[in-house]
């Protein structure tokens, strides 16, 4: 029993790492652009598929394909913002939300068109897992968690040590004051999309490593990603780390008592409870 719980906790931390990377992006974008970006899951999927092209097409190892996928997804996010969201900056947030819902659907269609509708994986064959004390750990799991830790640390340094990172926090803190301080909002917005899109790409790749690639993978993970962002207090990227871990662990551990199919329901339930009891999130949110 203890071993089983530990095993589930390992899965939970892996899932939590993936959700965290997605939720940080959602939170950053919410903090600066003030809308819930519903295409974020599909941006994750797009990143995963960029990687697949290099892995399956050119024989890259997954890790080597990641930088290209990060750049690709960052550019895609910026392009979407410039062609669509930018024209809606003065619209109410609700309109941007609907627009991003449309973008989500469009991205998924693009994925189907380019990469086809079937399930795909990065590497065929089974990884040889490490076993000790009855626990099973796949090398991929270690990479995913390590990768997330490194990226979160890098993001922390970016947000606290660089001028642009601080400007992002400033805009999220007080948009009007940022403007009158001379912070160029459009440039900061562009960087925000680049960071959010890049993190989404890695989250997508990790999700693809952990499970498989499928055009619907992004939309399916959107609910837990938002649950994580909301739990952490949407608009607070640091909260997203805690939120991601809580949601990831809860989803995996819950399978002890309920049918694993209903994992998303666990994320949903936690999110709704949080919204009702403490709408500002575990930590004080920006909303």
């Amino acid at each position: 029993m203890v071993t089983e719980l530990l095993q589930l906790a390992i899965y939970g931390v892996v899932l939590g790492s993936i959700l965290t990377l997605g939720a940080i992006g959602v939170s950053l974008i919410y903090g600066i652009l003030r809308f819930a970006h519903f295409a974020h899951g599909d941006l994750m999927a797009l990143g995963a598929y960029f990687s697949l092209s290099l892995v399956a097409g050119l024989g890259f190892p997954v890790w080597a394909s990641a930088p290209f996928a990060i750049v690709g997804a960052a550019l895609a996010a910026i392009a979407i913002d410039q062609t669509v969201y930018r024209h809606l900056r003065k619209s109410p947030p609700i309109i941007l939300l609907i627009s991003s819902f449309g973008i989500a659907i469009a991205l998924r269609s693009v994925i189907q068109l380019v990469w086809g509708p079937r399930n795909q994986v990065y590497a065929s064959g089974i990884q040889i897992p490490w076993r000790f004390e009855g626990l099973v750990i796949k090398p991929d799991h270690v990479w995913i968690v390590l990768g997330a830790v490194v990226l979160v640390a890098a993001l922390h340094l970016f947000l606290t040590r660089t001028k642009m990172g601080k400007a992002m926090r400033a805009m999220s803190d007080n948009m009007d004051l940022a403007l009158v301080s001379g912070i160029p909002s459009e440039r900061v917005i562009m960087v925000t999309w680049a960071v959010g899109g890049g993190l989404a790409a890695v989250a997508g790749i990790f999700l693809g490593m952990d499970t498989r690639l499928h055009p619907v993978m992004g939309w399916s993970v959107l609910l837990p990603v938002f649950a994580a962002a909301i739990l952490g207090g949407i608009g607070r990227p640091y909260g997203a780390i805690a939120g991601g871990m809580v949601i990831g662990l809860a989803m995996e551990m819950s399978t002890v008592v309920i049918d694993p199919t209903y994992k998303p329901a666990v994320a949903f339930a936690l999110m709704v409870i949080m919204l009702v009891v403490r709408p500002q999130g575990l930590f004080k949110g920006n909303a």
Partner: protein, 310 residues
């Protein structure tokens, strides 16, 4: 023969457009009048479809029921069940901001989808429920024209209800909430309560559309609706037609349905081997269309009368 085929297609086409029109009217109550975002339309639609199927089919060991009750009972039950689901979830979420509600509705739809797939005792799981009778087929026969007439009758009924609600004092309160929530609650009105009513009302119409669909197609399964695309189409219909305007909801439903069907002809020309790509391409086109509308004409074809300009 040609003529016959065309006629059959026309009837089929209009029936489906009618079902979408009911969905668009339901969404108009929630979004157009009240400003609530429901990304879980397919969930309420499916609840309605399954409810009516269980209520009206012959008894079966494969799923709950059937109870062999007449079609009108099925529709009423469908509306009631959808309304109940909406009320249960709405009681918790109505005090939330609209973007949180939107996320919550994704969750609702997802949970409904999972339940339909996995709760075999209730829904027969992925195998679905066959043999759902056509409306009034026992007395009037299975002529598709009858189904079309029934659907159009329900469209008219739904329109009448929503239009009355919109022009009543109740509808004015909803719009006031949408424009200035704090003002309305300062005036002593229970904002969450009004919101909940609108959410439940809209959901019951979506349930109604689900019932019509089940009886029209005769067979439902979790995969039968392409759930997300359905939800998405309804959104594009309402935005294109003009959110807040019931005529807009009807016009949008028809216009987008024409467009959607026309793209099918276009992509069919590509041949069967490209069928999945063609489907994706159609969705992509509609997705782009939505962006164009939101940027170029956010008020839609028929703008809401007396609406504030953004």
């Amino acid at each position: 023969m040609e003529m016959d085929g065309l006629l059959t297609y026309g009837v089929f086409f209009l029936t489906q457009a009618g079902i979408y029109a009911v969905l668009a009217l339901g969404l108009n109550v929630q979004y157009g009048l009240t400003g609530q975002i429901n990304i879980g339309i397919a969930g309420f639609f499916a609840v309605g479809a399954y409810t009516s199927a269980i209520v009206t089919t012959h008894p079966s060991t494969a799923h709950l029921g059937g109870f062999n009750l007449p079609f009108p009972v099925g529709v009423v039950a469908a509306m009631a069940t959808s309304a109940l689901v909406a009320a249960a979830i709405g009681r918790i979420t109505m005090r939330l901001r609209s973007d949180y509600l939107a996320i919550a509705t994704i969750g609702i739809a997802e949970i409904i989808r999972l339940a339909l797939k996995n709760e075999d005792w209730l829904t027969n799981g992925v195998r679905g429920i066959p043999g759902i009778p056509r409306p009034f087929s026992e007395t009037l026969g299975a002529n598709p024209l009858i189904s079309l007439g029934v659907v159009l009758g329900f469209v008219a009924f739904a329109f009448w209800m929503v239009e009355r609600a919109r022009s009543a004092p109740w509808g004015r309160v909803l719009r006031a909430i949408r424009e200035n929530e704090d003002g309305v609650s300062a005036a002593g009105k229970d904002v969450a309560h009004f919101r909940l009513q609108a959410f439940v009302f809209g959901a019951s119409l979506m349930g109604m559309a689900g019932a019509l669909y089940a009886h029209f197609i005769g067979f439902i399964s979790p995969e039968a609706f392409l759930p997300l695309y359905g939800t998405f189409l309804v959104w594009v219909m309402l935005i294109a037609g003009g959110a807040g305007n019931n005529w807009g909801a009807l016009v949008g439903a028809l216009a987008i349905w024409v467009l959607w069907s026309a793209t099918q002809f276009m992509t069919d020309a590509l041949g069967a081997e490209y069928a999945t790509q063609a489907g994706a391409l159609r969705v992509l086109l509609i997705g782009v269309l939505l962006q164009v509308i939101l940027i170029a004409r956010p008020q839609g074809l028929l703008p809401e009368r007396g609406a504030r300009k953004h």
